[in-house]
Amino acid sequence: MSAQVRIPTPLRRFTGGAEAVSADGATVGALVDSIERNHPGIKERLCDEAGEVRRFVNIFVNGEDIRFINNLDTPVHEGDEVSIVPAIAGGSFCPGLATLDAP
């Protein structure tokens, strides 16, 4: 399965500034691993040591929050659009994402 994944601005330094990347996988977790292979370092920004999505990151498949589907096991279908949306707090993105160098 190939899906478009929308990358929030603080993580675009991992994607060479790209706003969206294509990734392969049957689940959101597999997509994250696929992105990590092409853009090393991004996974640890999205997931904690236990492999769960960080508390201040929300991931949506076709606009639906994966926490209300099946978290990282949420299925992904060909052509789905996946969005990564970090919390914003106090002029910065929230923990784990840190801030970015302006592209």
């Binding site: 929308r6 601005t9 201040f56 914003i88 707090a89 002029g91 801030t99």
Partner: protein
Amino acid sequence: MSLRTNEAGSARVREGKVLVVGVGGLGSPAALALALAGVGTLGLVDADRVELSNLQRQILHFTPDIGRPKIDSAKEKIQQLNPSITLVAYNERLHAGNLAAIFAAYDFIIDGTDGVATKFLINDGAVLLNKPLSHAGIVQFHGQALTVLPQRTTCLRCLFPVPPHPDENPTCQEAGILGSLAGSLGSVQAAEAVKYLSGAGELLTDRLLTYDALALRWREVRVRPSPRCPLCGTPRTITGLHPEAYELERLCAPV
């Protein structure tokens, strides 16, 4: 639905009372738009003074205002724009102890603050006191907004149950903000307040609006009230405002 042709809606705006917490990057354009829209009563909360670095986005403050309390500077400009508006100025920092007394008189709350702890405080206070709220955040080239109708639609805690602890963000640094981004999101917040008061249109509820100024895209994702939300879910673990819950340090540069 046209606001101009809807007399009942216009009357509700004229009688409406909106509180803008923070007259900085978001609060300046929001308060300005609300004053021009003819909102009857505008409350402003801010304890800061104007600094040079504020001016690129905090459009109610001008160069001669540097050093003045923001609340005085904001009040002066708004009175000049719309002398008929009732302005209530709170030259104080919003905290768990004064929130209820300040929120009580208002129909709608706009969060124009910068601190993470304050954003959670405002969300919790609004939900507990049943005050509709426009939440927004901006950083660099990115903004987000969400409108909250307490106990009915998704709140900030439904999305992020606990505020981040400063220790969790060791690399946080001053990120800077595209000045016009503040205007974009602050204007969205003002629009939500006017729509709420007038009853026009569809509010930004259960939809998280994201704005990417670099790609120039407004997008939205669907969000839902969380059954495990500590504020509006079950079990409800937040039932009051306890000061110690909001004593997190400021993480970053002011919005």
